[in-house]
């Protein structure tokens, strides 16, 4: 392992940490709405605290909002990554079904859980 390698590793860790930090500070609070985007266009906006089942994109994906979290119940895509994804509930989190171009995001909501933000 040479000096340049260490620098690269540190830069990657720094970048990962920064982006993570940004997401935690500016997002991360309990979300309010579940927004569904298909191919970049918003096709539905639902409240996180109302249980429902939604067919997205003519049924290629099935979204279930339950217990103040959203998960992909079913999907007609080959990899099923979206179905296996953990349920989302916090502002900024999202479940993406790339083959079907479906993005389900949690948006809005309360202030973040961070204790303080330096002004």
């Amino acid at each position: 392992m040479k000096k340049g390698d260490i620098i690269i590793v540190l830069l990657v860790l720094l970048l990962a940490g920064s982006v993570f930090g940004i997401y935690t500070i500016f997002f991360g609070g309990k979300g309010a709405d579940v927004v569904v985007y298909v191919d970049g266009e918003e096709t539905g906006r639902y409240r996180l605290d109302e249980n429902r089942t939604i067919e997205i994109n003519d049924g290629t994906n099935t979204l279930v909002i339950e217990n103040e979290s959203a998960r992909m119940e079913e999907a007609g895509c080959p990899d099923q990554v979206c179905v296996r994804h953990k349920a989302i509930s916090k502002d900024g989190e999202s479940i993406i079904c790339l083959p079907n171009k479906v993005v389900v995001s949690v948006e809005g909501g309360e202030e973040t859980d961070a204790d303080a933000v330096v002004q």
Partner: protein
């Protein structure tokens, strides 16, 4: 066999090796619920090629194996993401390779990281949503780890095939 014929045959072997590694990867149940996190075993072949072949050939190797891999194991869209990730990572790796302070480990780590970033960028363009960027930290770390593993294996391989002429 003349030089050109030998080179062509070796190139074919490299493509085949990369495809075999891709196939082996489909047999290993490595699943995290995040798109884009995978071992990338075929990149061992790419990294080794990077250190033993002229750069133009490595690009061709990368493109050919992404295409064939996509036809065999994936779908048309996955080819797009793999190409984006593969070419970006190749460009970065080739650039870093020239730096004396960076060993094959650093090159490979950067390769892994930028492969994931390239795929993420392609995904962001396709779904036209910023939500994809919440995956950046995970993909950076997983790219770092897989890059490190690929680098370790590649460096060991290179040591052992040093005398081999192709």
């Amino acid at each position: 066999m003349n030089r050109k014929g030998a080179r062509l045959a070796s190139f074919g072997v490299f493509v085949a090796l990369a495809l075999i590694f891709s196939y082996i990867e489909t047999l290993i149940p490595f699943q995290i619920g995040i798109p884009g996190v995978k071992l990338g075993l075929a990149n061992i072949v790419i990294v080794i090629a990077l250190y033993r072949m002229p750069p133009g050939e490595v690009v061709t190797l990368s493109v050919v194996r992404v295409l064939l891999s996509g036809f065999l194991f994936g779908n048309m869209m996955s080819i797009l993401y793999s190409l984006a990730g593969g070419l970006l990572s190749l460009a970065v790796m080739w650039g870093l390779k020239h730096l004396k302070a960076v060993s094959i480990l650093g090159v490979s780590i950067a390769g892994g990281v930028f492969h994931n970033l390239g795929q993420l960028l392609a995904a962001a363009l396709v779904v036209e949503t910023y939500g994809v960027f919440s995956y950046v930290p995970v993909l950076l770390i997983s790219g770092l780890i897989t890059g490190l593993v690929i680098g370790l294996v590649s460096s060991e391989m290179l040591r052992r095939i040093r005398g081999l002429q192709f």
